[in-house]
Subunit: 182 residues, 2 copies
């Protein structure tokens, strides 16, 4: 394999916000030339594929400023400082939806936009759930929706799910119900 | 359905780069309180699920500064100013991999991180390909890899694919080959 790595020459902080930081890196390319890379720093996130005993997926509906619309998504949230993925997944599921999961298993992790964001999402499969009550944060307004996994998959095929982590979550739920997940 | 919308009060530009812009919006929540939202503005992208006549998926390997490692991904790229998705998909596939597709069909579109990024990726299914030659940009170093779709799906299940759009692309390729795509 050829060497594809880029060597870091310099890094400049451009923004330091509540959720995000942004920096511009200057790198040396494999060719020896220099280039710049704009990098959004994000603490990482968890997303929860929560399947009820009736084979329904727990979804949330919320307004997304960056998308400019209300989206139907699987529950998800940002990792707290030093927080383990599984703890964050249990916390977010309960806060956003009011469901508490006995079983919470990590599936895999994926970068959301490796061209510019450091954010990786850890996907968890939640099962054996009991209902408690939703406890959203002060700036979160979230509606919970239960949708049959088969129906979810049809929504994906019809292009009606507009969020990448949710498309993944639905396909994983389908594989899990078919017993095709390792 | 309750009103989940947030009303925009003010918007402040914080960064204006080569690829990204970043702004901080102040919004009024459904409760009447105010909150801030950090929004990364991105022109949007295309990703190409390119399946050869031998049922192999065309993948690319490249170093990703934001991820800090070399990733195996489906070909993808940013929309040019005013560029149509299908044109961008044909262009990116040919530039990054050297494959020219006779058939390029849009599957759906998904936001990569609607919590903070405006980027939506349009997914395209490419078929009936002929080989030309790779023509990467000056700051792109890309290796092309052909992997059997079945083997790709195993890599996803094993957690070896670390990029969300690629996980989606592989699952779409699998559905397409099984004739299960609408």
């Amino acid at each position: 394999m050829t060497n594809l790595n880029e060597e870091l020459i310099a890094s400049k902080k451009m923004f330091d916000g509540r959720l995000l930081k942004l920096r511009v890196d200057t790198v040396r390319l494999p060719s020896g030339k220099e280039a710049t890379r704009e990098v959004v720093e994000h603490p990482g996130a968890v997303a929860i594929i929560a399947i009820t005993d009736d084979q329904e997926l727990v979804l949330v509906r919320q307004y997304r400023r960056a998308a400019g619309e209300v989206l139907l998504e699987i529950p998800a949230g940002t990792l707290g400082p030093g927080e383990e993925g599984v703890a964050a997944a249990k916390r977010e599921l309960e806060e956003e939806t009011g469901y508490r999961a006995k079983k919470m298993t990590k599936v895999f992790s994926g970068f959301v936009a490796p061209g510019y964001s450091s954010e990786a999402i850890q996907f968890f499969l939640a099962k054996e759930m009991t209902e408690t009550r939703q406890q959203t944060e002060e700036d979160e307004f979230i509606e919970v929706d239960l949708v049959d996994v088969e129906a979810c998959l049809d929504l994906v095929k019809q292009g009606k799910i507009k969020d990448n982590k949710t498309i993944i979550g639905i396909m994983i739920a389908d594989l899990a119900l078919k017993g095709e997940l390792a």
